[in-house]
């Protein structure tokens, strides 16, 4: 069946495939280097530079560099992949300039890989693990490249199927991996309702935190008389401990973009806006590049793929206000106003940007759309639970061994994420709690680590799914201190429009400060609870309504720790400085003077090779001596 759309797509794909086949025939060795903000920070630019120099000075034209996005294996960056034609790929971890030299001379030039530097010991287990964990054909390419790495085999990559696999700046590579096939299908069917039905069947719930059914949201927007409609991608990623959206925007911009075009088509929008935080310059650059390339290729703009449908996109930058992640505030920000929320209803699907029906969706929500179109809504639903289909990406961080981006089916037990994939708590300390949902979420105590990650179960215990922040806390973290941390964030970010949030968060923070400084009384806990509930019920927008969550959930699960702070003036995690002091154990001190050299106020005295003493009257309790003493002689009491 030939139509303008299929003709357009077939010829586009043929051109890409023949170019790629030509390239493969050359049979070059490929050095694959991650290039996202996180990898740059870890030193991948040096690695890139070193490989470039080595290749140049070797004079070989049979080796080429392939820049990809990031797999999200944060604690092992920079990661380098060596692809020798006809051999299984080898990935190396924590590569630096010296290691580049070794890899180049031994592996590339002599054909001897270096198992001791292989990512997560993958070379040793290659024969065992290779090819396993291919959860679905969606992530086939990912599995081919990383299927022998345990951190990844335990995951199921749908939204992140291309992250770390393709060059995020190359439209050709994206097309070679089924890119724009979904859009061709959708435009070929010429039936927006078909898309909405598939997304409804998929039971895809918004990944930005609210968990609203995406198909439902799209349907609502189409039920409006007004024909000027907008679609917006929310790339404001405000949770101060999360980085999933940055990962996807930087590593696989085309997937998010294609999902957004399809969304725009489904709701009948003529224009789409990206709202991306200004703190993510590389994400902004890559999305702009994707927009430009797609416009040039006829995949955006007028008469997309010959279908007669027009759709354009524009990027707008956030400017560092957490509240602008909230839908009505985001809209006002795009309109050039202060980002203060408005009362809902009317919801944006009724009256949104410039008063027109508007759908706002999260980055990850869009990243799932093409997989749903290509593989069917039912397949997507089968990956998740009864209540929600698909997977969720989490930014696993805090006191966990393997930090990084983790994508698992909804319904996976928390402990599989933290212990199975994350490798458990750092330094083998005891797990205290898992925090999900960032400043709008709550704490899940260690005893409940069997809980399924899904919207319902998490909110039942007083947390939320949120956008994907997952912070692991150990026995060394003070729950009151972390609750105070979150509240000080929301208090600072409160836009000030309504009293319960503006005043409520301030008063609650004052109480928490009293508690951690040892000046609180037990009645303060009741006040805290009352204020929190009031704020939950009466604040105007989601920021204020969720702000008390960390405090209320920690009061629910860890009330004894609050009571200890108030009654016994002790902090069992030894975090709250008002309740501890530092002492040097004369028996253990060998007089190495490391503490003396690092004390900012010079209040430690003692001769070389003799026991040292801290002058308590001058000590500012910074904890430097504790961190620097390699003989455990400094004690926190």
């Amino acid at each position: 069946m030939s139509s303008p759309v299929t003709d357009f797509f077939d010829s586009l794909r043929d051109r890409v495939h023949s170019a790629m086949a030509e390239h493969r025939k050359a049979g070059k060795i490929t050095v694959q280097i991650g290039s996202a903000t996180c990898e740059h920070a870890a030193g991948s630019l040096d690695v890139l530079d070193e490989f470039t120099k080595h290749i140049q000075s070797s004079g070989s034209d049979a080796i080429e560099i392939h820049k990809t996005g990031c797999t999200g294996r944060c604690s092992k960056e920079p990661i380098v992949g060596i692809f020798v034609p006809g051999q299984a790929p080898v990935k190396y971890e924590r590569v630096n300039r010296e290691l580049v030299h070794e890899i180049f001379t031994k592996h590339i030039q002599k054909g001897c890989p270096l198992p001791e530097h292989a990512l997560d010991g993958s070379l040793d287990r290659q024969n065992l693990g290779a090819g396993q964990g291919a959860k679905s054909s969606v992530s086939q390419k990912f599995t081919e490249m990383y299927g022998d790495v345990s951190f990844f085999t335990a995951q199921n990559r749908i939204a992140m199927r291309n992250s770390g696999v393709l060059d995020p700046e190359s439209l050709e590579e994206y097309i070679a991996l089924d890119g724009f096939k979904a859009l061709a299908t959708v435009l070929g069917k010429n039936d927006p309702q078909w898309v909405i039905n598939e997304v409804l069947k998929a039971r895809l719930r918004g990944r930005g935190g609210g968990g609203f059914l995406t198909g439902k949201k799209w349907e609502l927007a189409t039920q409006n008389e007004e024909k000027t409609r907008y679609i917006i991608c929310n790339g404001d990623e405000g949770d101060p401990g999360a980085f999933m959206d940055r990962g996807m925007l930087e590593s696989d911009p085309f997937s998010v973009l294609e999902g957004m075009i399809i969304g725009g088509y489904a709701i009948g929008a003529g224009k789409g806006f990206w709202y991306i935080r200004a703190e993510y310059p590389l994400a902004i650059k890559r999305i702009q590049n994707a927009i430009d390339l797609c416009t040039k290729a006829g995949l955006l703009g007028k008469n997309i793929m010959g279908s007669g449908w027009d759709f354009e996109m524009e990027i707008r930058l956030g400017a560092g206000a957490f509240v602008c992640g909230e839908e009505t505030a985001l809209i006002r920000s795009i309109e050039g106003e202060r980002g203060q929320p408005k009362v809902r209803p009317p919801f944006p699907t009724t009256r949104g940007l410039w008063g027109k029906p508007t759908c706002i969706n999260n980055v990850e929500t869009f990243a799932n759309i093409t997989a749903i179109v290509n593989h069917g809504g039912e397949w997507f639903a089968s990956v998740g639970t009864e209540e929600s289909g698909g997977t969720k990406v989490f930014a696993l961080a805090g006191k966990v061994k393997h930090t990084g981006l983790v994508e698992v089916p909804l319904g996976t037990p928390l402990k599989d994420v933290v212990f199975g994939i994350g490798g458990g708590v750092q330094d083998d300390k005891a797990l205290k709690a898992i925090q999900t949902g960032g400043p709008a979420g709550g704490f899940i105590p260690a005893a409940m680590d069997n809980l399924a990650v899904d919207f319902g179960p998490l909110s039942k215990v007083g947390s939320i799914m949120g956008s994907g922040g997952m912070i692991v806390l150990s026995e060394e973290d003070c729950i009151v201190d972390i609750s105070k941390f979150y509240l000080s964030f929301t208090q600072e970010e409160s836009c000030g429009k309504c009293t319960p949030c503006r005043e409520g968060t301030t008063r609650m923070l004052e109480i928490l400060e009293r508690i951690t400084s040892g000046a609180a009384v037990l009645e303060d806990l009741d006040k805290l609870e009352r204020l929190g509930k009031l704020c939950q019920q009466t604040a105007l927008c989601g920021l204020g309504r969720a702000a008390p969550n960390p405090v209320l959930s920690s009061l629910k699960h860890f009330r004894d720790e609050y009571v200890e702070h108030i009654q016994d003036k002790t902090c069992r995690a030894k975090k709250c400085v008002a309740m501890i002091h530092f002492e040097i154990n004369a028996e253990a001190c060998i007089g190495c003077t490391a503490c003396v050299r690092n004390c900012p106020v010079n209040c430690i005295a003692g001769q070389r090779k003799e026991a040292h003493v801290i002058d308590q009257s001058r000590c500012v309790k910074c904890g430097q001596c504790f961190d620097f003493c390699r003989f455990n002689a400094v004690e926190r009491k």
């Binding site: 944060c74 990623e237 980085f243 703190e279 400017a319 206000a321 957490f322």
Partner: protein, 183 residues
């Protein structure tokens, strides 16, 4: 204010525009003027302020005034927007901008100690600039590199994971570079 040709905005428009030209670089003037007559042009205010900050490092009173004049948006609104968003700075910044991440992941890994050391070594607080104009210090929420927590960013370079001692080493590197170029 939209949909008016430049010459009819005010009767002294030539003079107003000339004054703005003295303050703002040509590409920003062009951006504002190209957008002024478009539908929903007020929506580009934040983009214009981003351009001004990218060019000058901060939003000075006279540059905000020029943006307001040229875009024909009340100065009160321009200032209102500029002060609402944390990303905009109203004070000049030092040669090197240091932002310590105080996001959750960094906080639980001891970012407060890194921040304290920076304040001690530089002798300034968040939002301030050293007297020699070399460093400005700010805190930020999650640079998106939590995997490397705790992190800090100097200009566009991210450093992590950091200990308070690393802070001294990194600062020394920038100071040395300055001395090198000064001689």
């Amino acid at each position: 204010m939209n949909h008016q040709t430049a010459t009819t905005i005010t009767d002294n428009w030539e003079a107003v525009r000339a004054a703005c030209l003295e303050v703002l670089p040509a590409h920003i003037i062009a951006f504002i003027e190209n957008n002024r007559d478009m539908e929903h042009s007020e929506g580009q205010l934040i983009a214009a302020l981003h351009m001004v900050q990218a060019h000058f490092g901060y939003l000075a009173q006279d540059t905000m005034h020029a943006v307001a004049q040229l875009a024909q948006i009340p100065l009160a609104k321009v200032t209102g927007v500029a002060t609402f968003y944390h990303y905009f700075r109203l004070q000049p910044r030092g040669k090197h901008m240091i932002s310590v991440c105080l996001g959750t992941a960094c906080y639980v890994k001891g970012a407060d100690k890194v921040a304290q050391r920076l304040m001690d070594e530089l002798g300034i607080h968040f939002g301030e600039t050293t007297r020699d104009g070399l460093f400005s210090l700010d805190s930020t929420r999650c640079l998106g590199t939590c995997g490397l927590a705790p992190v800090a960013m100097v200009d566009n370079q991210v450093y992590g994971p950091l200990t308070p001692t690393d802070v001294s080493v990194i600062l020394a590197k920038y100071v040395k570079k300055e001395k090198g170029t000064a001689e």
